[in-house]
């Protein structure tokens, strides 16, 4: 049976950089970002036995910890989570909003990813804009493996979008 500590280490290795990039875009400085990330993973360690979907749990915990950070920093306990994490989809209108929703569903659908490694790989490259080389070093893969597997993920997502009516993705540009 894998120990709690080992599980935390392996989850940390896969998700730390994605959590870090999500927090950094909100917070803006590395030191505070590191502290927030550390707090997120400490809370994960305490609840590790109860967590089923680690990725979803981490992003929810991230929002809470960032909110606490801003409340403390701005000395405003009434600050709302929506004030910090705006719904980006609201910035799009009509057809573009619908397209964004469909793309969002495609990204969140776990059937488009074979395993957690592919999920993490996609988050690193597509969401956080990591290079193939850096992603390879973080996830313990070779650069060629990362490039190949990312290509396969994109193919699956494009097929999903095709079934949902977005036949030619270049039209969205």
């Amino acid at each position: 049976m894998e120990s709690k500590r080992n599980r935390l280490t392996e989850i940390y290795a896969d998700y730390y950089s994605i959590i870090f990039s999500a927090v950094l875009t909100k917070v803006g400085n590395r030191d505070d970002t590191q502290d927030i990330c550390q707090e997120v993973f400490i809370r994960l360690y305490k609840k590790l036995d109860e967590v089923e979907n680690v990725r979803r749990w981490l992003f929810n915990a991230l929002k809470l910890v960032v909110l606490e950070y801003f409340r403390e920093k701005r000395k405003n306990t009434n600050l709302d989570i929506n004030d910090v994490f705006n719904d980006v989809s609201l910035t799009f209108v009509n057809g573009f909003r619908d397209a964004r929703i469909i793309i969002g569903e495609a990204i969140e659908n776990m059937e488009n990813f074979k395993d957690d490694i592919e999920r993490a790989l996609f988050d690193h490259i597509a969401v956080s804009n990591f290079t193939y080389g850096h992603t390879a070093k973080i996830l313990g893969l070779t650069r060629r493996q990362v490039e190949y597997r990312y290509g396969l993920i994109v193919d699956r997502i494009l097929k999903y979008l095709e079934k949902r009516g977005i036949k030619n993705i270049e039209d969205l540009l």
Binding site: E2, K4, R5, N6, L8, T9, E10, Y12, A13, Y16, S17, F20, S21, A22, L24, T25, R30, Q34, C37, Q38, F41, I42, Y45, K46, V88, F96, A99, R100, I103, G104, I107, I117, I125, A126, V127, S128, N129, F130, T131, H134, A136, K137, I138, L139, G140, L141, T142, R143, Q145, E147, Y150, G151, V154, D155, I157, L158, I169, E170, L172, L173
Partner: protein, 259 residues
């Protein structure tokens, strides 16, 4: 495939799905990942020095493109530690031998054969006494030892007839000096009474005067055999020729002994 991926990337950026990180920040994450995890583990009181070493191997393997589990990393650390411990133990065992003096004396190589080491027992002198010790020695060394024993020459003071004792002593001394020069200091002894058993060869002789003629005779006796191996003499007409006569006699003795 690459083109599709690029287009898809641009779509995600347009629809604001990303939290893009600069390359500088990406490098920062790579460098600080392990350290931040260590702080996290210390905060939850799960950090140990051994686990710190395991994490080093775990993250190093990741950077090299090998996705190991933490258990596998711990196993590799165990192997490395065992090999290192064995290497240190081996080094400790071997190091004293490097500083010990080498007591083996190597003889010059033979043309036909390999060198055999010969251990000398310095506490008892150069030559070992006793037949058993000799038999244990290699053949080449036995021959050399036999030659050395043959050269052990004892010189008795020459007798004198009709001539002063100082002359016979002077002649004995001159011959001895030349033999020491030829054979070596340890090979030639002045014999007192009762020391014949310590030598293999004995040089004895006499000096006599008959009118102006001086006669010097010398005899080399093999002690073991009890017989003379050389008898020689020189007749000179003047005391000025004594030294040259002594030199000739000593040369004859040397030539005979080294055969």
């Amino acid at each position: 495939m690459k083109e599709k991926a690029n287009i898809f990337q641009r779509v995600l950026e347009k629809f604001k799905f990303g939290n893009p990180l600069s390359v500088k920040d990406q490098k920062f994450i790579l460098l600080s990942m392990r350290r931040t995890l260590v702080f996290t583990l210390k905060a939850v009181k799960e950090y140990t020095a051994f686990y710190g070493m395991v994490l080093r191997i775990y993250f190093r393997a990741m950077r090299m493109g090998m996705r190991l589990s933490v258990t596998q990393s711990a196993f590799i650390l165990g192997i490395i530690s065992t090999v290192a411990a064995l290497a240190v133990a081996g080094g400790i065992a071997v190091t004293p031998r490097l500083f010990m003096p080498n007591r083996d004396v190597r003889l010059p190589k033979k043309k036909t054969g390999a060198v055999e080491p010969y251990k000398q027992d310095r506490s008892k002198g150069d030559l070992k006494k006793g037949a058993n010790a000799e038999e244990a020695l290699p053949g080449r060394i036995k021959k050399k030892k036999a030659a050395l024993r043959k050269y052990r020459l004892g010189i008795e003071v020459f007798g004198n007839e009709n001539i002063g004792a100082d002359k016979s002593e002077r002649i004995t001394g001159r011959i001895k000096m030349r033999l020491v020069e030829s054979l070596g200091k340890g090979k030639v002894l002045s014999l007192d009474a009762g020391k014949r058993k310590h030598v293999n060869l004995i040089l004895t002789g006499s000096v006599g005067r008959l009118g102006d003629l001086i006669m010097i005779s010398a005899k080399v006796i093999d002690v073991e055999k009890g017989s003379a191996i050389l008898i020689t003499s020189e007749n000179i007409g003047s005391e000025d020729d004594i030294n040259s006569a002594c030199d000739r006699i000593s040369r004859k003795i040397w030539m005979k002994i080294r055969q």
